[in-house]
Symmetry: C2
Amino acid sequence: MYREQRKEETETAGHGFMPGLAVDAVIFGFHDQQLKVLLMQYKKTGIFALPGGFIREKENLNDAAERVVSERTALKDIYLEQFYAFGDYDRYDPKPLKTIMTANGVIPEDDHWLLQRFISVSYYALVDFTKVVPMPDRIFDGCAWYDLANIPELMQDHSLIIRKALTALRADLDNKLVAFNLMPEEFTMSELQTLYETILGKNLLRPAFQRKLLSLGILERVAKKWTGGAHKAPYLYRFISENN
Amino acid sequence: MYREQRKEETETAGHGFMPGLAVDAVIFGFHDQQLKVLLMQYKKTGIFALPGGFIREKENLNDAAERVVSERTALKDIYLEQFYAFGDYDRYDPKPLKTIMTANGVIPEDDHWLLQRFISVSYYALVDFTKVVPMPDRIFDGCAWYDLANIPELMQDHSLIIRKALTALRADLDNKLVAFNLMPEEFTMSELQTLYETILGKNLLRPAFQRKLLSLGILERVAKKWTGGAHKAPYLYRFISENN
């Protein structure tokens, strides 16, 4: 009881977290041929933001990011890629947080730890859309998927963070073969191509795409086929993970 | 009064820098067919480290990295790429800094700001070896180039930072065409190939390499040739920068 109260107090003061440092996550999902991003909406103010949080004093930076993403998606073992630390001085804007705190009945002092300058180490996460249950909490009254093409106005520089995350994801498509994290376990070549095309924002030639992906030796053809009855049913594939 | 006192406290605690946050730079140069890294050596202790520093309270994160690199190389407009924020808790090791401070006559309190946990936002820099004058200062008595294949034992996790910088540089070779930053203004195709081979740690086929680089439309053949008198003197090339 005492311990819980004490923990709450230190967290309110900002002690227990590393000062001036945040993690923010651009959580991508893929559904209905669209790339989606998970966004939070703060209670009472309607302000939109990326899911984010702070780093506990003895917590690994990457673990903090994982924690933030798990809290929002209720998923474990998520593919997370750290892509950039946003640290321009002019991203420092205490106004929205002050508005949010005030709307929720907390009038902060100007030197409140949440109103100081923060540098955000940002991650993108790739999740299987079908497995995610977006989780709001007592601070947020909204947590939902938004089409990448139709993102509402976001707090601070969070729109920039999303744009830069997409650039990083595109660059990693070939290098790090990250796309399968956005797919269900089994998929057709055509579904995979649609995902690549959506991420890259351009059409790809089907034979070249198929040849390239198959040449990488990371796809395994699954024995069964679709049972729709079409005379030329497509094969299903799955990724061969390193653990197999 | 309260505010002034507080400011004073902050400055003595961290001298106007953001707490818990550092920048470190892996400065690559290329000479004698070898990739080199610029390392510092602390006075009196002989401890080796990457060039690094802290972020002023109103300074952009990337500007802090530029400042650190300029201070060591006496170069301006250096190609810098932010590649990773190192933030594992177990990289926190105050011992070497305590040793260094003690050896230099400062006995720090255990809660001295320099002995707290730091997260390092790391950059790699690519510089023209021939233009760099390594600059030690009053804290360091050494600043010199070391062959990447022959790096001395480094402080904390700085060896890991170098390994990860090399991985990032390799990945960026094609995506971001960064290599020309390591070359003098004019170079032969063979010199450029040697640089790529050194970075990648493998031999490349000459016709394929030449075809690929020329197909990118970023190289311009310079009119003059070598005057060594060889009957088949190689052409000189230069990169077409975006400013041309």
